[in-house]
């Protein structure tokens, strides 16, 4: 039993942390988020040069990592700086291409890892909520290829992606795990309508409508569910780690504020109720960290243990996240309500992560149903 990072990963973590400290202030972050793309292509290239994108891919796919711990290390740092660049879409789509892609399809990963090519995964639909098996978009054979019709919603990084991986049903009922297929679609494809928007916490996403859009099959027809579940599992772990980083910073801001801010002539940190509430926050952050360790440690195990640990972590991220975010704002008082104080943006990110890949209730239910 050993809970220390390997030397490689500690270096990765430190490199990224130092880079973000130098280059990614909260002002810079707001600037990236407020730009037309909703992120900075220059920053993305710098991240890629630094090898951070490659850390999400295995060596056989041209990267130098790709394991659960790599995801943890990278995303915790990204969460600490509220990075808006498209790591999450890259992880999602990249996992699918790595898992299912033909040699020809995998060729695009080189461009992804070098930062030249942006990818995203369009899966959720207006009526699917958090159910990953509910797919109503349809794909039909058309000549040599396939034609896609339907709608995809809240596609992370969908607006800037050069290539989209899109799920569509080729058979089965609309909530059946069988019969889902994946397609590689060029962003410029005819009939593809991409409407970009920002999320309330400042990240770029898009709504996508497809009318007879041409796509190329990725993996076997109708058998994509398992790979989708795995990719979602990896992305879920990623946002848990991202939440962990953001929560840790929000906690630090709050403790610092408790030292600085005076009320009735004394530091508010001297008020025992605030002390105890922060002690509880500290305890829960350790619980969060432990559950992430469990999820990443079981990332390559059997489905039942793997997905139960993923759902445990995401359940806690929602529950603990709300506690941490709300305490951070409350203890900052009015200042915590302002755009100016960075803590408010951390709180927003922490809360909104509850809406990615299933919220705290969804994952509690999933934990129960997978175990049964």
């Amino acid at each position: 039993m050993d809970f220390n990072l390997s030397d490689d990963r500690r270096m990765l973590s430190e490199t990224l942390s130092r880079f973000l400290g130098d280059k990614y202030s909260i002002e810079k972050r707001h600037e990236c988020a407020a730009s037309d793309d909703g992120f900075s292509r220059d920053m993305w290239n710098e991240f890629a040069e630094l090898g951070i994108v490659g850390a999400l891919f295995s060596e056989e796919n041209g990267g130098f990592g790709g394991g659960g711990e790599d995801i943890n290390v990278v995303f915790e740092q990204l969460g600490r700086a509220l990075v808006v660049e498209p790591f999450l879409p890259t992880l999602l789509a990249g996992s699918l291409i790595s898992e299912l892609g033909s040699d020809a399809q995998k060729e695009m990963l080189e461009g992804v890892i070098s930062g030249e090519k942006l990818i995203a995964f369009a899966h959720g639909e207006p009526g699917s909520r958090y159910e990953i098996e509910r797919v109503t978009a349809k794909a039909e054979k058309a000549g040599d290829g396939w034609q896609l019709n339907g709608n995809k919603s809240v596609v992370l990084g969908g607006g800037a992606a050069d290539t989209l991986i899109i799920s569509a049903r080729t058979s089965g009922d609309e909530d059946s795990a069988n019969g889902i297929s994946l397609f590689v679609v060029d962003a410029g494809a005819a009939g593809l309508d991409v409407r970009s928007f920002g999320t309330v916490d400042g990240y770029p996403a898009a709504e996508i409508a497809m009318r007879n859009v041409s796509g190329e099959l990725l993996g076997n027809e109708g058998e994509a569910f398992e790979a989708i579940e795995k990719a979602y599992g990896r992305a879920t772990l990623a946002v848990c780690a991202e939440a962990m980083g953001a929560m840790d910073v929000a906690k630090d801001f709050t403790v610092e504020y408790m030292h600085q801010r005076k009320q009735f002539g004394v530091e508010i940190g001297k008020f025992q109720v605030l002390q105890h509430r922060m002690a509880d926050v500290l305890i829960e952050l350790e619980q969060m960290r432990s559950s992430i360790i469990n999820a990443s440690g079981h990332m390559n195990d059997d489905r039942v243990i793997r997905e139960r640990m993923v759902s445990s972590a995401k359940h806690l991220a929602g529950r603990i996240g709300r506690q941490v975010a709300e305490e951070a704002i409350q203890i900052h008082g009015g200042n915590g309500m302002t755009w100016e104080y960075a803590v408010s943006h951390y709180a927003k990110r922490i809360i909104m992560i509850d809406h990615l890949f299933g919220d705290t209730d969804h994952h509690l239910e999933r934990y129960i149903s997978i175990g049964a």
Partner: protein, 398 residues
Amino acid sequence: MDINYNSEEIVFRDEVRAFFAEKLSPRLSNKVKFGKRLAKADMEEWQKELNDRGWLAPNWPKEWGGAEWSAVQNHIFDEERWAANAPQIMPFGLGMLAPVLIKFGSEEQKSHYLPRMLDGTDWWCQGYSEPGAGSDLASLRTKAERDGDHYIVNGQKTWTTLGHFADWIFCLVRTSNEGKRQQGISFLMIDMNSPGIEVRPIILLDGEHEVNEVFFDNVKVPVENLVGEENMGWTYAKYLLTHERTNTANIGSSLAALASMKEIASRQMKNGKPLSQDPYFAARIAKVEIDLRAMQTTNLRVLVDADSGAAPGPESSMLKVKGTIIRQEINDLARRALGPYALPFSSEAMDEGYNDEPIGPDYANPIASEYFNNRKLSIFAGSNEIQRNIISKTKLGL
């Protein structure tokens, strides 16, 4: 004991309902319902309707144009106005300054300022909070020095809600440093157009501008703008705070928000069925609904007491704490109900003229933003921590 409204109260409620049905335009109620931004003109339009009916300042004495409603009547009106999606009446002039003027102001002040509040000539804002003070009001440092027949005011106020709409501000200012901190405070009315006043927006975490910082740089204020006596401002401030006793529990707001959240939950689908039928979500709804129903009775018990002359004491702290917890819980459930569609947010979509197709369901856009904005409820107007201190001191003797 009778837990139902009596016949007079029912008649009153029906009158209020009829009034909203007749006078509240669909344009305005839709803006409120869908979380669109209200312009100053919107609020003026609605104030005029209320003033025409004699309900703009329902708690003023009749001689000044009020209606002398009971606490229970106020509560009924509040529930109905939320249910009807009517705009909120800004309380700074009508609900906060006015009672102070009526009790402590000179006859000249009353006859000048009160009518101008009713007819919308003067918009007021409030200058209580200062940077770094938080819930510790008495720590204020904005000072007013007497110079002939003027005060010279220097300092800064903050969290001034809709200060950018206001013609006037009433302020607590320090006129003496002698004695305890609560002494030496005076209550001044200041023209917002005075030279030396600067209003700077504070942008909140949801990107909205509703509060401001107000800076005073050698602002000249005529001595006749002093309310009551010099150095007695703390007394008036406390009177103002205890007088403002309705709505502390947010019952009307919570009832309306609960209904709207349940509507959302019945339209959002989970596993092919309405989310409202999901056992977990139904349990979350039921819990808050049970809490709210009990809170409604708790609030009415306090109000009925108040109408029979009991002074509103620490009960209002209890209403504040639990009332804001319930209100915030409803916000939390609303954002959860939306699932992934809580994420998209467009600030422009909150403008009246915006006509693009919404992203996701038409009710989705403001929901997450409201969740964040309403975190203020447990912070502003005496944080819930301060309220618990008060409860502990006054009700438990600790």
